[in-house]
């Protein structure tokens, strides 16, 4: 009901205005109207959000360093070396020089020289899964990559647990949990998002269906999944909790899912940043730093 009233009462900004918004990082659609300050993010949310951002960056880059030690993925308990699901390799000429980086997915091969399989270090093509700029440490150094990864894994888990405790205690889980109404609104919202029209007024005070779906999935599904698949790669944890490798279809499957989780975080990050920019960079950034968000009036429905 609210949605249709909103639809009728809210003349949409023109396409040219929306494009201007995009270029100006989502400036206001109605510069003449006053904006209402709204306390949007609690301190606990802001702190855990920014800690998580830094921790995830280290986890991703040290994870790619570890992956580079054996840049191939398999399904099942063990490695079927002849048939990886995905692998990065390099082609060398008779003089031993690396000439091409190859990415293989199933039986398809792609030339990914310079990025995957072979990339430049000090100007020379070398055999590397992911390039040095994407890994921590930069050069091939598995031991140190593991040390970074397992230290920050603790921070990731502790920070995530603190957020989850806060969210449960303060009812923030309810803000993030999609409802039946959200699912009904989903098609409409997808259309609105494609038109770069974002909720205003009262609607901007709560998460919309797409936000709920994205945040709930990334926090309460992808988060635990990346931790559990990570633990499944530990032989001691597999002895302690035999259901772990059973759950994920084997240690190598868990490693593959762990890898997919990592890149789902990257995909989430890309969409997240695009949405932050399109819906008002400075307003969004301010609200995640100070908590204060300025809400634009929703046009005709409130005056």
């Amino acid at each position: 009901m609210e949605a249709s009233a909103h639809q009728l009462g809210n003349p949409r900004p023109s396409p040219s205005r929306r494009f201007l918004n995009f270029l100006t990082f989502g400036a206001r659609t109605r510069p003449d109207e006053p904006r209402i300050p709204f306390y949007r993010h609690a301190l606990a949310v802001r702190i855990t959000h920014w800690l998580n951002a830094g921790v995830l960056l280290v986890m991703l880059m040290s994870g790619l360093q570890i992956f580079n030690a054996h840049p191939a993925l398999y399904w099942g308990a063990q490695s079927n070396f002849a048939h990886p699901l995905l692998s990065f390799s390099a082609l060398q000429n008779s003089a031993g020089q690396v000439v091409r980086g190859i990415t293989q997915i199933g039986s398809w091969q792609f030339n990914t020289t310079g990025i995957l399989g072979a990339s430049r270090m000090d100007g020379v093509l070398v055999v590397r899964g992911f390039p040095a700029w994407a890994t921590l440490p930069g050069p091939q150094w598995l031991a140190m990559g593991r040390v970074w990864h397992f230290f920050f894994a603790w921070l990731f888990v502790i920070n995530g647990a603190l957020f989850a405790l806060y969210a449960l205690a303060r009812g923030h889980v309810r803000d993030l949990l999609p409802t039946a109404r959200d699912f009904r609104n989903l098609p409409h919202e997808i259309v609105e998002h494609i038109r770069l029209c974002f909720p205003k007024g009262e609607d901007a005070k709560r998460y919309n269906a797409l936000q709920k779906l994205a945040y709930f999935t990334v926090i309460f599904i992808q988060g635990p999944l990346v931790v559990l698949t990570g633990l499944t790669m530990s032989p001691t944890m597999d002895a302690a909790f035999p259901f772990l490798p059973w759950l994920f279809g084997g240690r190598q499957s868990a490693r593959t899912i762990h890898f997919l989780c990592a890149f789902s975080f990257v995909a989430f990050f890309v969409v997240h940043i695009v949405m932050v920019v399109l819906s008002g960079t400075w307003n969004n950034l301010r609200s995640m730093i100070t908590g204060r968000y300025l809400i634009e009036g929703d046009g005709g429905t409130r005056a």
């Binding site: 280290v58 921590l136 440490p137 598995l142 970074w148 397992f150 894994a153 032989p235 944890m237």
Partner: protein
């Protein structure tokens, strides 16, 4: 204004984090390393809390055995000594147990094979990320330790191996640094910890550590010493090699290899 200032400092902080990317100097900074390595003890304690001394690694079926068990690290120790043993079919290979024990002993391969044996089909997890399933037969290490009787102050077994890790004059013969590894007694007394001499029902191939290698099934591959010729019981491994408990540990790898 305070908002903008806060934003700028946050931006500076994230730019700092981004510059980690190409920066190996942080990884080489001693205090950073010291901080990062503290997580190892926490991980070890928590994992031990759950796995205890008896949780068993999963044992698979014959159908799961990999057609070829991948060999990694040294695949043929180039020393004259070892090659002589290969020629003799390891007839005179001996494993010495000494250090902090009541009864130092030396076992030939035949002695080891006479001890009650255990056969287990387990998954080998390399630190690089791959896994391989094989069937191992050997003498439980705890049976050997029971004969040697560790002294009360013995805390670790150090496994000294016959494979050289450096060859300073490139003549194919090592000049220093033989492979070694260590485990605490909890892992050594685990029922699946073996001095293995058979792989998939046949004598251990040279590439996989002939004639005797360690199996510690709840640990990563680099902890499974190959070509074992001496087991030394110690209170501390600080005086051995680089002092960190193993060849790879001396290169920066964690001593705790359960993850």
């Amino acid at each position: 204004m305070p908002d903008r200032r806060k934003f700028l400092s946050a931006a500076a902080a994230s730019a700092g984090a981004l510059s980690l990317a190409g920066c190996k100097s942080l990884s080489q900074t001693p205090w950073v390393q010291d901080v990062l390595y503290t997580a190892e003890g926490l991980t070890r304690r928590v994992q031990r809390l759950f796995a205890g001394s008896h949780a068993l690694a999963k044992e698979y079926t014959k159908a799961d055995i990999a057609p070829v068990f991948r060999a990694n690290g040294t695949i043929n120790p180039p020393t004259d000594d070892y090659q002589q043993h290969v020629k003799e079919g390891f007839a005179s290979w001996e494993v010495t147990v000494d250090g902090l024990v009541e009864h130092p002993l030396t076992l030939t391969l035949a002695d080891l094979r006479k001890l009650p044996s255990r056969t287990q089909i387990t998954r080998h997890d390399c630190v690089e990320g791959w896994s391989c399933i094989g069937e191992w037969t050997g003498a439980p290490l705890r049976a050997v330790l029971a004969m040697a009787k560790p002294k009360p102050n013995a805390r670790y077994c150090v496994f000294h191996c016959a494979d050289p890790m450096t060859d300073t004059d490139s003549d194919g013969v090592a000049d220093a640094d033989f492979y070694y590894e260590s485990h605490d007694l909890l892992e050594c007394l685990h029922p699946q910890t073996l001095l293995a001499y058979d792989l998939n029902g046949k004598p251990l191939p040279v590439a996989n550590g002939a004639p005797v290698r360690l199996r510690a099934e709840r640990q990563l591959g680099y902890k499974q010493a190959k070509y074992v010729e001496r087991i030394e019981l110690v209170e501390s491994f600080a005086h051995i090699g680089g002092g960190r408990g193993g060849y790879w540990e001396d290169q920066g790898y964690n001593w705790y290899g359960g993850i």
